[in-house]
């Protein structure tokens, strides 16, 4: 009992500090990028000298699109004289993916910060009862936390490779960033296959509770999870928002795995265009899942009292269960599982 009082008196301050630190770390690196994005590296002096081959290559491209022939050099697309498809991919990455993903991340992070500053933490209305309800088994928690490590490693290294040139090179210098980027690339390559296994476990472990129940989840979505209309709508073991997160991870993850494998194995004769498309899908899916992850992390930690402990200890408070997941709470009550902590259950 003493332990709980100590924690609750220091908790809010510590959590606010943690939140502020995390958000600052996420937003600050994006700031110099806003200034760096519009500078163009091409020098007008070099461009002013006409390329003697310009007319020839224009002629090659205009020859009824026949740019493929044969070459004694064997390899992927070695018979292709010119393939200008890279321009569209380059422009997408430089002018759309990089700036807009930064806006999305910064926007969601600041929206969450604003909400937290205005409304604060969502408290357990009745206070803690002290009675525990088992919520996630040891196995489910392992599946979750392994996924956390793998996903965070992939997200962080991916984001470093996406923004690094604009954000980290000015800070670390080219040689310094090379080390970061090389490590990021290796880690991304190593974690990718582990993510496949991790996602499979994740998808199977939480599949049943993530299936949509149209009546309950429709009502939950209609009330936006209680943010609109005051009263908290009913929900099963996990609510519609959490189910959305599950499916975002599963489908986003599958898109990431599929597109990642295309780029990971360049030895299956796939050409540039397939790899460009794979890279586009990879970037879009990653931005989508990472943006969703911000909300998940917020609500599962500082945003709501009593939610983080479900995944750490495996148990939640009885009053929290009744307020947040009433239908599941009723089920647990009927089964007589209230008050038996997860660890002692097995």
């Amino acid at each position: 009992m003493t332990m709980t009082t100590t924690r609750s008196s220091y908790g809010p301050l510590m959590l606010k500090g943690m939140l502020a630190t995390v958000l600052l770390v996420l937003i600050l690196p994006l700031v110099p990028y806003v200034f760096a994005v519009n500078t163009d590296a091409s020098s007008p002096a070099a461009a002013s000298v006409p390329n003697p081959g310009a007319d020839l290559w224009r002629a090659v491209r205009q020859r009824d699109s026949i740019t493929a022939g044969i070459s004694q050099v064997k390899g992927v697309e070695t018979g292709v004289l010119i393939n200008p498809s890279g321009k569209a991919w380059l422009e997408f990455r430089k002018e759309k993916l990089i700036p807009y993903s930064a806006y999305v991340f910064a926007g969601i992070a600041s929206a969450l910060l604003l909400y937290f500053l205005l409304h604060g933490r969502i408290r357990i209305k009745e206070g803690r009862s002290g009675v525990l309800v088992p919520r996630y088994s040891r196995y489910e928690r392992w599946v979750h936390w392994i996924m956390v490590v793998v996903f965070m490693a992939l997200a962080l290294t991916g984001v470093i490779l996406l923004y690094g040139r604009f954000v980290l090179i000015p800070l670390l210098g080219p040689e310094g960033f090379h080390v970061t980027a090389q490590l990021s690339k290796w880690l991304h390559d190593i974690m990718g296959p582990i993510f496949i296994i991790s996602l499979l476990f994740m998808a199977f472990s939480f599949f049943r509770e993530a299936l949509f129940n149209f009546k309950v989840d429709g009502n939950w979505l209609l009330h936006a999870g209680g943010y609109l209309g005051g009263k908290h709508p009913s929900s099963g073991k996990i609510n519609a928002g959490q189910k959305g997160w599950y499916w975002a991870v599963v489908f986003g993850g599958l898109a990431l795995i599929g597109s990642g494998l295309v780029m990971y194995f360049p030895n299956f004769q796939q050409g540039r265009e397939i790899m460009q498309d794979a890279n586009m899908i990879h970037g879009l899916a990653a931005v989508f899942v990472i943006a969703f992850m911000f909300i998940h992390i917020y609500l599962a930690s500082v945003g709501m009292e009593g939610s983080l402990e479900c995944m750490t200890s495996g148990n939640c408070d009885e009053n929290w269960a009744e307020e947040q997941h009433d239908l599941w709470y009723e089920e647990m009550k009927e089964e007589g599982r209230i008050g038996i902590p997860s660890n002692r259950e097995q």
Binding site: G53, L56, I66, G69, Y264
Partner: protein, 207 residues
Amino acid sequence: MAAMKFYCDAERCIECNGCVTACKNVNEVPWGVNRRRVVTIKDGEPGERSLSVACMHCADAPCAAVCPVDCFYTTDDGIVLHDKDICIGCGYCFYACPFGAPQFPTDGAFASRGKMDKCTFCAGGPLEDNSSEEFRKYGSNRIAEGKLPACAEMCATKALLAGDADMVSEIYRKRVVNRAQAALGKGVQLRNRNFGSKVDMKGKATN
């Protein structure tokens, strides 16, 4: 400021692959890496033409624009080079390049990419000129010795020209004029004699 460029004369190239061999020999590139290749379209059909392709040393290079570690730089001669000590082997330059110039030696398991290798216009890299380390990483630095790229110097028909863009253009311009004179003398229409002609180059490309 000079701008070094290649130009391959499709009327002269006979697909002997001498440039490819010269490049491999002079730069001792790893197995599987081809900095230069000769592409033949309509092989064995009327209107067959060959072109030798390597890095074009673009003024506004897409590889440099997309590189996540910014390892490319343009020399005072307008040659696009890259720093292998910075390159991480991500392959983005290969996606972006229209000419298929960036090459990747396989490095480690699963055919993963090593550091990118491409035509340097025989100008080495950012290391000390003609040092053994520079040769090992980037091949020979003929530009530092006052020589032109080996591929162009070895070209038997002088189809492949390399050098300052203005000088290369001047040489090619003279050739075009001479050809036009010869063609008109024989009564052949000029447009039938050039690479962009569509008259006698119909039919599908051979693969």
